[in-house]
């Protein structure tokens, strides 16, 4: 065992993960890249040569050379409407392929069907976020190898650095042509940006695009060009549109969350970063959307504009673009119908890859240009360390998303969260799992007010300078912890075994924390 820089005990070797020596988290920017990128196999297509289109998923699996023990990857742009992951794994099972490593950008509730394939040994390892039923399964020790959690930026970094080699990438493509050019913008299963799939297409040894909208060569508005695509399969439907995009995203009417949003917005407005041309990310949750609404009012009052909005894009951001409050949108994931329509029609709405969005080891990660980001958390501790992965009972239920990356990149990182969810406190002495270290978290905003990390005295000064008085209270962290304890009453400690079921990597590939198996809950 050795302690890393956030005081977590990490074993020197983790079964199913490997040696951790030299890979302990040392600080947000401590580990820098060395050596060369690890690329895909060289391949070619001769003039007039190979037909890329194959009849079905099984033919594509066979043609890809996929064998037991290999690694396959998927993107999650079809979210809870996705059919592709389940179809590919069903086909693998029928073809007798086993012991696969699954490398998804994220899994959703719709993928609970994979539990059968985990039980039967078709899937032996998951490198990626797990939630819902699979999260519970993993947390209770239902998988042999630990899951490895990486951020949106940490994942492409791991591929380029050779930490993960993708044998076959299966890419759900809302539109494709016979040459293999694909786009997320059009088709009955349109999802907008397919930014999470870019790195997989470029670095996998074989790439299979699965589409339900095959068009003549060439399509316009290509997301990923055919130069990376080996095979195309046309099927009836790659997903359920109702689960792919939500109709409209609405600002919350929950008065508590609206109050938190107002406080967060006032904090941003008091900071030195709120000036003409600033860049920000707020995300799609209830509080972040409401913050966006308040920031718009703030921009009006101050007579300024934002140069860009980043991340998962909603109709709300699209409205800001149309109304001229934001100059550009950098979109790695389009959350709703308005965002999908906008990215298909407005040149100022730009599709970006996860690499461009958030990879710490490239030369222009968009998160580095962020002035402010609003994020959520399941827990924050006295040191401002944030947990977004495990729930109050210690179960692994959420991926990292872009949390680490945006927190590290933004000049002002704000966690906006009610102090309690039900009677579960969100502010604690020590988080159960460290996802993002306090050294990149600047402030916490709850219904009790604004709490600023003491290492950001400049922000504290700027906030006090704004003289909001009682209208936006300032609450020291110690007071918040005491208050949370008083309101929630004593919490039973989480009971875990020594077995490690999850490894949380910091975006640079070091181990920031491990997740231990929880004791199986009593069956009711």
């Amino acid at each position: 065992m050795a302690l890393n820089a956030v005081h977590r005990n990490i074993p020197e070797s983790i079964d199913g993960y490997g040696d951790t020596s030299g890979r302990l988290f040392e600080g947000a920017f401590a580990r820098q890249p060395e050596g060369r990128k690890h690329g895909a196999k060289l391949r070619s297509v001769l003039p007039g040569g190979q037909q890329k289109q194959l009849k079905g998923i099984k033919e594509a699996i066979a043609a890809s050379g996929l064998k037991s023990g290999m690694t396959i990857s998927f993107h999650h742009h079809l979210r809870n409407g996705d059919y592709v992951v389940n179809m590919v794994l069903d086909a693998c099972a029928e073809m007798g392929i086993r012991d696969l490593t699954l490398f998804p950008t994220a899994l959703f509730g719709v993928h609970k069907a994979l539990i059968t394939h985990i039980g039967s040994g078709v899937i032996s390892r998951i490198l990626g976020s797990v939630n819902g039923p699979i999260g519970v399964l993993v947390s209770e020790g239902g998988m042999v190898a630990p899951v490895v959690l990486r951020s949106h930026g940490g994942r492409p970094r791991a591929v380029m650095a050779g930490d993960v080699r993708i044998d076959v990438a299966f890419i759900a493509a809302p539109t494709a042509d016979s040459g293999g050019n694909i786009s997320g913008r059009f088709g009955k299963s349109a999802c907008g940006s397919i930014g999470y799939a870019f790195t997989d297409a470029e670095y996998a040894d074989c790439v299979v695009a699965i589409t339900d909208n095959l068009q003549p060569y060439p399509i316009s508005n290509v997301s990923i060009p055919g130069i990376f695509i080996d095979f195309i399969v046309q099927i009836d439907s790659i997903g359920d549109p109702a689960g792919i995009v939500s109709g409209t995203t609405r600002v919350t009417r929950d008065p508590l969350r609206l109050m938190i949003a107002k406080y967060a917005s006032r904090l941003i407005e008091s900071s030195p970063y709120f000036s003409d041309g600033f860049g920000f990310q707020t995300g799609a949750g209830g509080i972040p959307l409401a913050v966006t609404a308040h920031i718009k009012e703030g921009m009006k009052r101050r007579g300024i504009k934002a140069s860009f909005g980043l991340g998962g894009i909603t109709g709300y951001f699209v409205d800001l673009l149309k109304e001229g409050f934001v100059e550009k949108l950098l979109d790695v994931q389009s959350f709703d119908l308005d965002a999908v329509k906008s990215i298909a029609s407005d040149a100022r709405h730009i599709e970006i890859s996860a690499d461009w969005y958030a990879n710490p080891w490239n030369l222009g990660s968009a998160v580095n240009a962020l002035d402010a980001v609003i994020l959520g958390a399941t827990e924050v501790d006295r040191d401002f360390n944030v947990n977004v992965n495990t729930e109050a009972d210690g179960a692994l239920l959420h991926g990292i998303g872009g949390h680490q990356d945006t927190a590290a990149g933004a000049s002002l990182t704000i966690i906006a969260q009610p102090l309690l969810r039900g009677r579960i406190p969100c502010v604690v002495d020590r988080v159960h799992t460290v996802t993002t270290p306090g050294e990149v978290v600047d402030a916490l905003v709850t219904e009790f007010g604004v709490t600023i990390n003491p290492r950001r005295q400049d922000l504290i000064d700027a906030f006090k300078e704004a003289r909001y008085g009682d209208t936006v209270p300032f609450v020291p962290m110690d007071e918040l912890v005491v208050r949370a304890k008083r309101m929630s009453g004593p919490m039973s400690p989480i009971r875990t075994t020594d077995r490690i079921v999850g490894v949380v990597e910091w975006r640079d590939g070091t181990v920031i924390d491990v997740i231990r198996q929880i004791e199986r809950r009593l069956q009711s």
Binding site: P255, M259, R423, M487
Partner: protein, 299 residues
């Protein structure tokens, strides 16, 4: 100030503990309509515990007890008054008799618990035609009475009317309430506006009741507080005029004179009190030195 008094369901710990964060002027921890019969005991215990924490910011904290027609109201009072409730909101007050019964019970509980006699206020909900008719007698039946409040749904039903968007069925009741409250020297507080998503309707109703002379309004959703405060907060013109009146009156007093003239109008004591009240509502402490219009600083 009682511009807004926010109802919080007595069986919801999250709301009970956090309602004050929305900064209403007062809170009403509710043991009556928002709590089902099977949860009455649990809610009473919960409300008692929350009261004992005494974390309500600047809010005046009251409890709506169950009516005197139930067997619950004495237990309600003996639980919440020792725990720190500043007042009791009593439903269905039809006659002064109800107030007298409550007064008596409060006196007993206060003396048992070492609370100064008479310190617990009574807020009377007049939810029937009879209650409204008796408004003045009810308001004057005990020194504890702090306010009278017309009912909403129950009262409309008793009047054999339906609640409408423009509230015409309660219009006369509201005017009556003002006359009775002013005659008795208590506050007149309006009933809730039930359409919680209709911000414009709420604003219209609050503007109307403010014009009638109401001191404030009961609130069932935190989102309504800001709107009502905006309506009840005096306009800049009202504030400026009130500042001039208060300043002139003080100057006159310091020179040993009674009546003065401001803006060509005779100002006597009631006008000065009204001006001071306007400044209180505007959140301006008139005891502090103020900038006068001509820039001169005065105490």
């Amino acid at each position: 100030m009682r511009r807004t008094m926010l109802y919080l369901p007595g069986n919801n710990p999250n709301m009970l503990m956090r309602g004050y964060l929305f900064r209403p002027d007062g809170l009403i921890l509710d043991l009556e309509d928002s709590v089902t019969a099977s949860e009455k005991d649990a809610a009473r215990i919960l409300v008692r515990e929350v009261l004992a924490n005494r974390e309500f910011g600047e809010c005046e904290v009251t409890v709506r007890i169950n009516g005197v027609d139930t067997e619950l109201w004495r237990d309600d009072i003996s639980s919440v008054v020792p725990a720190g409730a500043a007042g009791i909101r009593v439903p269905k007050v039809d006659t002064p008799r109800t107030v007298l019964d409550i007064d008596e019970e409060l006196s007993e509980v206060e003396s048992r618990s070492g609370i100064p006699q008479g310190s617990t206020k009574i807020f009377c909900l007049l939810e029937s035609a009879l209650g409204v008719w008796n408004a003045y007698d009810i308001a004057t039946s005990s020194k504890r009475v702090a306010a009278i409040i017309p009912g909403g749904e129950d009262l409309a039903a008793d009047l054999r009317a339906n609640r409408s968007a423009d509230g015409v069925e309660l219009e006369w009741v509201r005017r009556m309430m003002i006359v009775a409250a002013r005659a008795a020297g208590v506050d007149a507080l309006d009933t809730v506006y039930p359409r919680i998503t209709d911000d414009d309707g709420l604003r219209r109703e609050a503007e109307f009741t403010k014009k009638l002379g109401f001191d404030g309004k009961s609130v069932i959703h935190p989102g309504q507080i800001q709107i009502i405060h905006e309506v009840y907060t005096p306009t800049e013109r009202e504030v400026e005029s009130a500042k001039r009146i208060v300043a002139a009156a003080r100057e006159a007093a310091s020179r040993g004179r009674g009546a003065v003239t401001v803006d060509g109008r005779m100002v006597d004591l009631p006008v000065v009190r009204r001006a001071e009240f306007t400044l209180t509502r505007a959140g301006i402490a008139f005891g502090e030195p103020e900038e006068t219009p001509d820039g001169e600083r005065r105490g």
